[in-house]
Assembly symmetry: D3
Homo-oligomer: 285 residues x 6
């Protein structure tokens, strides 16, 4: 069973609205290699696990737990990039009389304003809905690990590319945190394959990202987040039987299971009367 404490896994750094950044950030949420995919993939793999090698099951479930918090972080980030991104005021009083015309004409995803009230959606950067056929859980452990390794590597790769699409601080801080955490998960699956005999030499991290290009990453690396596995279990776990010892990447260091990071408060989002959200205050009561 699943329990919750109302804390975001990382901070939301304030900056101006940026609807195009919100649109491309959707890839990290609902894209083929986004956080919804990783969350659901590890969920299915841990529930479908066969056999008695519980340490691998605990590894899969442990990363699944963190991915739920990642989905929440990306949803919240997108919401903050969208918050009040239309013109202020109701329709009649705004300069153009059409307060949502500006983001739509500048290339925002119109669904951010039509379906949600300037809020995140289960779609990718091109507006395609998330699709269950992307989840991969075949029950062969090596196959699952290879695919997961591939998934986390693509996660870093795509986040590093999306990082260059806006210099917005809200946007980049979340990306930087997730790049370092994907690196940790890449290490986890690479290490699991090491326990089955592989020697990765200098292959990882994939891609070979230069931390100087993504300065927001530095503090997370300095805290050791690239070699840590956060433990969200309320009971015992065998995850450290896999996730410990020398990092499989050429960057070195020791893998360590640690408590989750200090949480961050969930921001209260402003009401948007011109989007009828939440729409209770404008009732005659």
């Amino acid at each position: 069973m699943y329990f919750y404490r109302e804390d975001l896994i990382n901070m939301i750094v304030p900056d101006k609205p940026d609807p195009v950044a919100a649109k491309v950030m959707q890839e990290i949420l609902g894209g083929h290699f986004g956080e919804m995919r990783t969350m659901m993939q590890y969920f299915f793999q841990s529930s479908n696990f066969r056999g008695t090698e519980k340490k691998y099951r605990d590894l899969l479930r442990g990363i699944f737990l963190e991915e739920i918090a990642h989905v929440e972080l990306v949803q919240t980030t997108i919401n903050h990039l969208l918050n009040e991104s239309g013109e202020p005021g109701a329709g009649a009083e705004s300069p153009s009389g059409a307060p949502l015309s500006s983001p739509v004409q500048q290339g925002a995803n119109p669904h951010h304003y039509i379906i949600g009230a300037q809020a995140s959606l289960p779609v990718d950067a091109a507006g395609n809905p998330w699709n269950g056929s992307w989840v991969y859980s075949h029950g062969n452990l090596i196959g699952d690990l290879l695919d997961n390794l591939n998934l986390e590597s693509t996660g870093v790769l795509q986040k590093s590319r999306i990082y260059e699409m806006s210099s917005n601080k809200t946007f980049r801080e979340t990306l930087a945190f997730l790049i370092v955490r994907d690196n940790a998960h890449q290490n986890a699956f690479a290490k699991a394959l090491e326990t089955l005999g592989v020697d990765w030499a200098k292959l990882f991290p994939v891609p070979n990202y230069d931390i100087n290009k993504y300065p927001e990453c530095r503090k997370y690396v300095e805290m050791g987040f690239h070699n840590a596995q956060f433990n969200f279990r309320l009971d015992d776990t065998l995850i450290a039987e896999v996730f410990s010892g020398k990092s499989p990447s050429r960057n070195g260091g020791e893998l360590q299971v640690t408590p989750p990071p200090q949480g961050n408060p969930l921001p209260v989002m402003p009401e948007l009367p011109n989007e009828h959200s939440p729409g209770t205050s404008d009732m005659n009561r």
Copy 2:
């Protein structure tokens, strides 16, 4: 952040394999009105919540937390309906020499044997993948509540129909538990709309299911599960400001926030060498 204790939210009652039951049970997991939809819908609604009426946000998130455990329960149920549903033994030694031919010829979903190793998938009863466009989070609170009410009502309706598709005990126990819990969630959203002024008279429960037709439901009703909201929060929640007082359904009773049910151990699933699952034991090490 999300935490876990390795306990299933309900028991798995043992019975024989039933691949066709597993196929139709997929609707409850990956269908348009299945548990993956409810889980993701309430997740998006709670993350996208606007304004300060935190009690509604806590209600949405509280039900989301239970839905994660429901997804896990349905995955596990499907796995048990599939476990060892092929002929025993390796290909060459089995009577037909084709140990997976029997379930496929009798109408199983072939993907249960091809993609997974006799394991659950993010698809519906017709084999269509889960689709993000089904999730509905528009940020207007009344709109969200009406849709959720509709979603839980359809949940009960479809589960009561699927119940009649097999008399398998593993299958029916899970359905019965979920029918009663959907009823509770129907009560939660109906109650939330009562706080906004609606009088439901005798409309609910929808559909007007007769508990005598679903005998496995009785014990859950007797435990009051149709009027309970399990609390999975590790911190405070305002959920009882909505979920309390007289039930909005004609069946009466008092709504109560309670601790989660006693957990049930996750079964260890057998290895399936002829599906190469998990496939570590047959390596030459």
Copy 3:
């Protein structure tokens, strides 16, 4: 604007339930070349029509109007193939205790029993949902006519194949009527291309179906339905400027615009208490 008289465009011939026939009949409703496609394709083509050659627009809209009635006929046919196809009685009293198990195990589409109460769906014979990308309206008249000709030819072809999938009389009568009407629509689009210069020689009908293989077709051919265009307009139409004169097919005859056929009463479908349909009688009122 669109008006209605409660009459089915053709009769429903009674016969026993046949859930597998209902499943394959879905292709005619929601398939790539089914009646929903023809209906929506001619709707878009007539609304999107450019220029002043109104006779072609009237032709497109005239066939669109009939296609709405075809969709209704196929929905009703599927419903009659499904009506009471589960075991009689409520769950507890039926022989197996699982009154919907039999159709599902024999290859029915489970969604016919889960989503609808033994009722038609906007899906094809493999259970895939109808998809808007199939509709083709590009605004080049010749392109539209060529595609429509192709669509109606495929309509006859697929119906003649589906005809051989069951000898159920409800099933075959509807198919036979539609085969003859698709032939008429094939003639309409072929004739429209004749007005632009083409000589079809002996190409049509495509496929070259032998009426003796589809005996239910004979009466419709004898009534001249293969050369008739039913007129559903309440105002004037120029359709006869295209649809008149010698048939473009080698079977000969004269094309004629005629009044719609005598209507047929819509059958009242029985309630299905074990599917909670319609579910009003079982409320305590």
Copy 4:
């Protein structure tokens, strides 16, 4: 059977081309909660209706009939927003030599120019094709009514948001008419649930839109269109057994079945030679 008189259900107010407005207007045509969905949903619900309570069936079919005319109105509106939105003249003579470059670079849906000749498509505002899985017809009357109520509420909500995306008059007039008609349909389904016992108090309309923000709506409200059900039946209907008496919304008034509105002529759309539409005049005949 379905009959037609060539009249649009509402006027097309002339204004300049606005390709981005056309793109977002597609949500109203082919979106998850658009007019194609309402049309097909009520079509399936009325054809699949079980039992003898014909007044509800007549209600469902009555609204279905109007939705066909709504689809036609939105198609026509989109076409007028697109008409001649490229640069005038053929490729070689235009300033840039690429007369369709401008709308595409300014965020139009390129399919409006590639698939159709500046014409409407069965897709949503993000370009995703309409999907049959959105249609909901489960045969439980209360379930169907709750879903329809939800659908019409979302219809008003999304139209009120889209309204703020452009001040184009063609665009806003159609939206305003549809907002008021969705309100009427919301009243119809709310009233049908009142006949089953519900008291809506002050919940409706949802959302609680302020008519002063949508000035084009006023005249339709003054004509009573928010409390009217247009009757498109050529034979008798029991719709007034449901749709009559006091409005279920807090705005009050009496529900009334009325004849359809005075029709409006369908505009003839200009030819577009540089899109080869309709492409007959440029043949050597």
Copy 5:
């Protein structure tokens, strides 16, 4: 079996990057009527061919072979429109510090930069993925030929519209070559239907494109490419039994089977370090 010589079927004319042109060009690659569709459609039709009229099978396969080379040509064209379309330099040094922000804000498909490293994708101009349901192979020869004729006509039509979306030379040269080749394939399928009796009079080419509007086409017409069928067979083929004699189009000329065109070298594409592509040079080796 399939063999390869590393030559592009047509030249790549150099010009500046044009990400919006790349986006719309995707329709020609992965759209409903694009080259992936024609390639796969003729592949399935030739593999599924029934009966002994080998000359038609050879025609289908012959055009399939050319379509593989067309897919490669369009992929390469898109890549050249995208090459180095971000700002030069790594993130930190670029003017905005976000070198990919510019194309995304100007309406590029963000997937061109996220999924691929400024590279082609199997999607259409609206970003929807290619879908197998578009392929049509029903085994009735006339039906297949009618559909193919329709497909090639739409190919010319859509390419002529896309041509007007940019004056970029890389873009237009590829389109012009493909317009002429689609014309040839239109002639091939029209001729095949002539052998079955049809007289097309002056219907073709569809659309009736004016070569003066597409000046890049002229040289290909002068080389006779509109009446040629390139022969990619290493063994004998009966294609000339269909593809010979007078052209079925009003433009006249003689159909001829010829050797493939002189090939063109595949350009080497530059590395993109800020997209980590190919990402081997930045490893510490």
Copy 6:
């Protein structure tokens, strides 16, 4: 450019029709990890290749070329499993009068008889159409290689599972050939990663299949097909700079580039008059 010699890459072993085997074999053709995916994935990766390390590009293209022949082999295999799988004779004369009823009632994919004339389709074993979003080409070489390795491993895994679904000889021979060839391609991508430093130890082949369970594989292994790369280039290739030396799998042996196998004649498929295929002989000519 692409050239063809009419030879199948492997033999078709005759056996009885088996429509359910044809249905599951579709996974190998149009499934998420089927031959259409491998073909298109390596096609995009080779066309999108960046930089000057041509040996890797030649490897990708070399495997792409073989995959085209694999698609053709699987299409042909499915066709042979379906050939004449309905009852013999025309409708009226057959025992049931419905010659296609039998396969449909026994669980065949009805689309095999409706869309095609007992012919292969671009869909998977559950009838879902092939989807372009499955293709993965991100331009980071290590990412592409890891994904391809994963793809080929899943290919072997799924084929070994499907092998157990029927003992039909046509079915099993094709699967056995492809299992061995996927093993060779697994070796190719594993070797490519070895050139970048990885030591696979005893990880491969994945899964660790036992050749004694798949006796048809033995002859292909004895011919060395698991360590061979067939060369389909008509010009030079650098593929041997990667594909040579010791096999990366624990089974050992030397990797070798070899000529393609001796070809096999394409069987002529019988006409199916009751499916109107090809439908030319029944015209009055």
